[in-house]
Subunit: 228 residues, 2 copies
Amino acid sequence: MGNRPTTGICAACAMPPVCFAQGAGEGVPVPVERRRRLSRGEKLFEAATPGGAVYAVRAGFLKVSVPVAGTDAGIVRFVLPGDAVGFDAMRGQVHACESQALEDSEVCEIASWRLETVADARPLVAAHLRRCIAEELTQAHAHCAAVASLPAATLVARFLLDLARRWAARGYSERRFRLPMGRREIGNHLGLTMETVSRVLSTLQARGAVRLERGAIEILSPALLQAA
Amino acid sequence: MGNRPTTGICAACAMPPVCFAQGAGEGVPVPVERRRRLSRGEKLFEAATPGGAVYAVRAGFLKVSVPVAGTDAGIVRFVLPGDAVGFDAMRGQVHACESQALEDSEVCEIASWRLETVADARPLVAAHLRRCIAEELTQAHAHCAAVASLPAATLVARFLLDLARRWAARGYSERRFRLPMGRREIGNHLGLTMETVSRVLSTLQARGAVRLERGAIEILSPALLQAA
DNA sequence: CGCGATCTTGAACACGGTCAACTGACGTGG
DNA sequence: CCACGTCAGTTGACCGTGTTCAAGATCGCG
């Protein structure tokens, strides 16, 4: 991992400015501590455990959820290859949320104290981190506002369009992609129940907006989804 | 503003590590560009206008909202004296949300390019910024999860307890405090309507948990609120 | 092949939304 | 100083979206 890659897995990752910062290695530790493989269902990290790290996802699919007192965990976000998870640990070396693999995944782990060290020595890295966290903050705000105000059908439709956009940004098909999370998890993410999600999806299929497959979906008419 | 204050308004502010960073002023610009006074109802900044700044609130009360397509704006957060607003601009010198004063307010404005400059020169400032943004991200996640899963009564009760906690952290009474926002705005923040908020508050008052005043509230029994 | 988990679909219900009337506080102008 | 208009808040009645409960359907997997 000496030079900046122009192709390959790292090309689509959010962290190259960290891993390939100019002069990294001269007195500054190489940021990536190790790679980690996760099987489906395995936890990447849990809330309130000390330490904390930022993870760049190389492959797979994860969910991030916060434990809400009294209820089962609220899913805050789904994580695709190329995304980074765990920035909430940069608030005191402890994660406030937890993350679990929805399918077999592989991540690069960067312990947050290492990341801090690199950032302290490289203003460009620090600036990149700020951008990443601020970006995620903006997403979270938008998601809050949507969940609080839009009806179920709109939420599900926008959720699908958002996934499509994110896959497209990575060079994959925006028409047909996997849905590794269950209906219950989609519902949890959108403030709905499993049943409502299922019904909305069925309706969308009946209208010819999507085609449902096992653990996947094909978007037939983005326009119809947009209109929902 | 040369030395770090131990008392006064700046003592409760989130930004002293920025304003009073060691050696600030030696080739690095003084971060605070200017103070700004806002009258009730005035906008502090609007979404999508280029430039962007972070504001430390010295006095007053503001709301932060994101424009949701098709709907009126979704209120993401209320801002108390000592809080900072505008971190979302550190994602590309443009605000994704807007902020408006709910009562006459006064803020310190730090243009985001200046803040970047100071952060680049002072690792401690950069680290402090990361903490602030990550903290806000964590709050946003928790709020999302709550709004998506908890019933109306619980949301309102927790909202009041949260405000009480934040006032207490600033040395003010956690029993009795002002509510400068309208019922509609509370509802917007929690994904409810004005009427539902009003009903829940009335019920809480009938149960002896709170006492409603004009533009203020007194918490009589935190335990009853917690139980809601 | 049969068990279990996930998903779908239906029917009844409830929480919160919508619509509407009323109240009270405040500010303005006669 | 009071009459009036406005606006925020309260309260009631009704309604609709989404939840709950329950019964099948479908598929993966041992």
